[in-house]
């Protein structure tokens, strides 16, 4: 039995930051990298299943990215993943979520898991589409925003609950294998002690190329993407201000501001 968990190393902004020269992303020098928060939960869900299962279950963490992603994969190994797979090729650079999904789907075909998990979304890009697109490429059923899951590895069906708007829950039965995108709070992710992370460093991370998963360079990167980022920028800040003084002063200042705006509009 096998569960494939797609994970992403996300980037968080440091205090001060600068944009890249091409203006389409943040200068990587100002990014702090970590495992995507949602993926902590999806990995935990898989590891919990493995621990509860009566037959052996293999949890495989898979990620797309260059060597720096290994740090996050090691965290997955420390938390209980049995294997880690990283797919990278310079051609993958500048892929959108659809192209990444294509890579993950190809990896899933190679691994042939009984179930595939992904996070609902990534905290840095928030497309919330990678997992679902991977399901589409695979032709597997999918369920998004899963907040509860009953599934015994190897079963043909899983029952899950999805979070809907307005506090509603969807209880869904799904055919396996399926792709589930896991919501925060579905479990309590375990702490990976530094010692276990260090020990995980001894476990190998399989690195696969595009050829290994049977994809061509034209299926990834800009060529394989359905969207492209035009620019990234910080919008002008709103000019909220607190008007001080007594009621009369405040009213006078308010009138002045309104006049300024009217003046600007005319």
């Amino acid at each position: 039995m096998k569960i494939l968990v797609a994970v992403k190393q996300v980037a968080a902004l440091d205090e001060d930051f600068a944009l890249r020269d091409d203006g389409r992303n943040v200068d990587p020098d100002f990014l702090i990298r970590d495992l995507n928060e949602w993926d902590d939960f999806s990995l935990e869900e898989a590891v919990k299943m493995k621990e509860a299962a009566s037959q052996p279950v293999e949890v495989v963490a898979v990620s797309v990215g260059s060597g720096e992603v290994d740090e996050s994969l090691r965290k997955c190994l420390a938390k209980g993943a049995d294997r880690a797979v990283r797919i990278w090729d310079p051609a993958i650079e500048d892929s959108d979520s659809i192209a990444i999904a294509r890579v993950l789907a190809a990896a899933a075909r190679r691994e042939a898991p009984d179930m595939m998990f992904a996070g609902v979304q990534s905290s840095d890009q928030s497309f919330a589409s990678t997992g679902i697109a991977a399901a589409a490429f695979l032709g597997w059923p999918h369920a998004a925003v899963v907040s509860h899951l009953s599934y015994s590895p190897g079963a043909t069906r899983a029952v899950l609950r999805r979070e809907l708007e307005g506090g509603l829950l969807h209880e869904v039965e799904i055919q396996c294998p399926a792709v589930l995108t896991i919501q925060l709070g579905i479990n309590t992710p375990r702490y990976a002690s530094l010692r276990s992370i260090k020990q995980a460093a001894a476990k190998p991370i399989e690195v696969l190329s595009l050829a290994d998963i049977g994809l061509g360079a034209d299926e990834v990167g800009v060529a394989g993407s359905l969207s492209r980022v035009r620019r990234m920028y910080v919008p002008d800040r709103g000019r909220a201000q607190l008007i001080e003084g007594d009621a009369a002063q405040q009213a006078a200042r308010l009138a002045e501001i309104i006049r300024e705006f009217k003046g600007a509009a005319s």
Binding site: E15, I32, S193, L194
Partner: protein, 706 residues
């Protein structure tokens, strides 16, 4: 028979040969039972993990003997109990030595070599000494009975804060019974000894060698006079002596046989524990050996032999129970009960012939003998327990070792998990960008040197709280201005510095500690400096005591000693003496951990402050509750916090104006507690640095912008 020969201890007179043989048989049996018990105990300790002690055997023996003979550790914070124990100890030792010398002559020297010394003046003087020793023993025992029976000391209450009434090991009445049985047994042995002596005198009153020298045994002689006055004749006295002789002898042998099986064993285990004491037990925690597959203590056999010995050394005196800040605020922790629980656990599992299966050795949990995680997480590693323990039980390393296992399992407060992840990610507990670590220095009217780029005399290791906490940043700025004005050539590491790791290590996240310590040691290696100073006692402790294990040996001091020197050298001068009535809170890591009691007090005197000590000061200072990573874990809602408990103590000082601290975490904890205890406006909490700055007004242009 010569005159002197006749003056001797009457041993087996009037005993038949068979009777003597029976006595010896029983005696050998008692000794065999004793040795078997010793074997079982030693086997138990040997089932613990290996540990190689550093330092020679003789210095350790000498240190133990000095503690024991002086009773220095036993009389601390309980002079009466110390004095009574001293009477019992010396009384018992003399009486034991007396009996042992008789055996030496009667059973060894005389039959083998024909040497006899137990007669004449030697006997008489010894007889007098032993009689006095007996009085001492009885007096000590009677006080201990009074203390247990009537004083109702909270520290002798065996009810546990980590168990509910009704739990099988809630208040352990068997301990109480054993305490009393021990006292009574000793008392009966001592008293029957006197009656026996008196009966012998009356019995042999016609023998000059006995009766004429009776006043060398004054207590026995007085009793003998009394017996005679009551009409006891020599014949009846002989019978009485015969019966009592057996009674006295048998219970004395019983005591010997019981030693390894009962609390009496403390005479050996406590002494041994004192001998293996580690003076830096809490200050410098042990690294996890590379060979150890799992970090920390999961099973009882994961503790090393010394820790298992520590468990048996505990005499339930309750001093740690009394000193523990967690216990004082009703948290489910008493250091005493952690030790006793584990002791019961070790007894139940490691004293049998074969070691039970691994599953039965798990020390974590809520069953009798196990320690609950709530208990372990209540500890603030303030070292109050280790510091006061009269028999060198080292609680803190035991607790941290158990926490290491909890951390490995992720069994901790979610906020603590978050903080550890944050520290791993950013190098500080505030989750701030590394780049901002030195940002507080930007507000200063002079540049602070980057010690990584230019050599400095003094490298200031700032620490997390002093770097990132807005309130403490102000103090850091003041200290920088003082150093600047005193002409100290100093610098900081800016974003090269990481959390020092002192508290991370005490949480039990050893792997993260290793990362932090190594990062700081590397950063310091890249800087050129003569000595290190810090305003943070936590950083001070770990850099001073623990970094050497990571290859980082520095001359380091807390700012209080540096400031004192700057005043002594005239580089800082008090121009505006303060007339405040103050009290001083000893930070655990400056005071108890590193004995920095005096410099802050000397500074306060120098500033002109009137220092009123709190009851709990210096070695008995009461932890603010922040230690051991507890600053990252919220205290239970509604329950008193240690800092609040402390504020109430301070508030009782009439006319108190300033509650002085010298630790960034203290400032945070106590300013909060000042408000929550409703003492705001009555007095203020201030860093000693702030008082120094006030007494040494800044030169014009050098003032730190408010």
């Amino acid at each position: 028979m010569s005159r002197t020969d006749a003056v001797t201890r009457i041993l087996f007179e009037a005993f038949g040969a068979a009777e003597v043989r029976i006595f010896y048989l029983i005696g050998y049996a008692a000794i065999a039972v004793f040795f078997y018990g010793v074997y079982v105990q030693v086997r138990k300790y040997r089932r613990g993990a290996a540990l190689v002690l550093d330092g020679g055997l003789w210095p350790r023996f000498g240190a133990m003997l000095s503690s024991l003979l002086s009773h220095r550790t036993i009389e601390r914070r309980d002079r009466a109990a110390g004095a009574a124990h001293r009477l019992i100890f010396y009384g018992f030792m003399l009486l034991f030595a007396g009996t042992a010398t008789i055996t030496l002559q009667y059973d060894i020297l005389e039959p083998l070599f024909g040497i006899r010394f137990w007669h004449g003046e030697f006997y008489l003087v010894f007889s007098l000494i032993l009689d006095v020793a007996g009085v001492a023993l009885i007096a000590g025992l009677l006080y201990m009975m009074y203390r247990r029976g009537w004083l109702e000391l909270p520290k002798l209450d065996y009810a546990r804060p980590d168990r509910e009434p009704g739990d099988p090991d809630f208040n352990r009445p068997q301990y109480r019974r054993e305490d009393w049985a021990f006292l009574w047994l000793l008392l009966i042995i001592a008293c029957t000894g006197y009656v026996l002596e008196a009966a012998r005198l009356v019995w042999l009153q016609d023998r000059a060698g006995v009766w004429d020298t009776r006043w060398w045994s004054p207590v026995g002689a007085l009793l003998a006079q009394g017996m005679r006055a009551l009409g006891l004749d020599a014949g009846s006295a002989g019978l009485l002596r015969h019966g009592l002789w057996w009674f006295h002898g048998l219970i004395a042998l019983l005591l010997i046989a019981l030693i390894p099986y009962t609390k009496v064993k403390h005479v050996f285990t406590s002494a041994a524990s004192l001998m293996v004491r580690d003076p830096l037990a809490a200050q410098r925690l042990a690294r996890i050996p590379e060979s150890q597959p799992q970090p920390g203590a999961a099973k009882i056999t994961d503790f090393n032999w010394k820790q298992l010995l520590n468990l048996d050394a505990c005499t339930k005196c309750g001093r740690c129970h009394e000193a523990c800040p967690a216990r004082a605020v009703g948290a489910p922790l008493s250091p005493r009960d952690v030790i006793l629980s584990l002791r019961e656990f070790a007894q139940a599992t490691l004293e049998s012939g074969a070691i039970p299966a691994a599953a039965e050795l798990d020390v974590h949990g809520k069953a009798p003998g196990q320690v609950a995680m709530e208990t372990l997480w209540s500890c603030r590693t303030c070292m109050a327990c280790v510091e006061i323990c009269p028999v060198a039980v080292e609680h803190v390393p035991i607790i941290v070792q158990m926490r290491r296992k909890l951390v490995e399992d992720g069994a901790m407060d979610p906020l603590l998990t978050k903080t550890l992840q944050t520290i791993h990610k950013t190098g500080n507990s505030f989750g701030e960008s590394k780049r901002k670590r030195g940002a507080w220095s930007k507000a200063l009217p002079f540049p602070v040197k980057d010690a990584r780029k230019q050599p400095v005399d003094v490298l200031w290791f700032v620490g997390d709280y002093a770097s990132f906490d807005p309130r403490n940043q102000k103090v850091s700025q003041l200290f920088a201005s003082l150093l600047h004005e005193a002409g100290v050539d100093f610098g900081i590491l800016f974003d090269g510095e990481s959390n020092a790791g002192n508290d991370v290590r005490r949480v039990g996240e050893e792997g993260l500690y290793e990362v932090l310590a190594q990062a700081n040691v590397n950063a310091l290696a890249g800087a050129s400096f003569k000595s290190v100073v810090t305003t943070d006692p936590h950083s001070y402790n770990t850099i001073r005591n623990e970094y050497p294990d990571f290859g980082g040996k520095y001359e380091i001091e807390h700012y209080t000693t540096l400031a004192k020197r700057l005043f002594a050298e005239g580089r800082l001068q008090v121009t505006k003496p303060l007339k405040y009535r103050v009290t001083f809170h000893d930070p655990c890591h400056l005071g108890r951990f590193n004995k920095g009691y005096d410099s802050p007090r000397e500074l306060l005197a120098l500033l002109g402050c009137e220092l009123i000590e709190m009851g709990r000061c210096r070695a008995n200072s009461f932890c603010c509750g922040a230690g051991g990573g507890r600053i990252w874990v919220p205290d239970p809602v509604g329950a008193e916090k240690p800092a609040q408990n402390r504020m109430r103590e301070a508030a009782a000082i009439p006319g108190l104006e300033v509650y002085v601290v010298s630790c960034p975490k203290d400032l945070t904890m106590f300013e909060d507690a000042l408000k929550t205890t409703g003492n705001e406006g009555k007095f203020v909490v201030k860093e000693l640095i702030e008082l120094i700055r006030e007494a040494v007004p800044a030169r014009r242009g050098d003032a730190v912008p408010a």
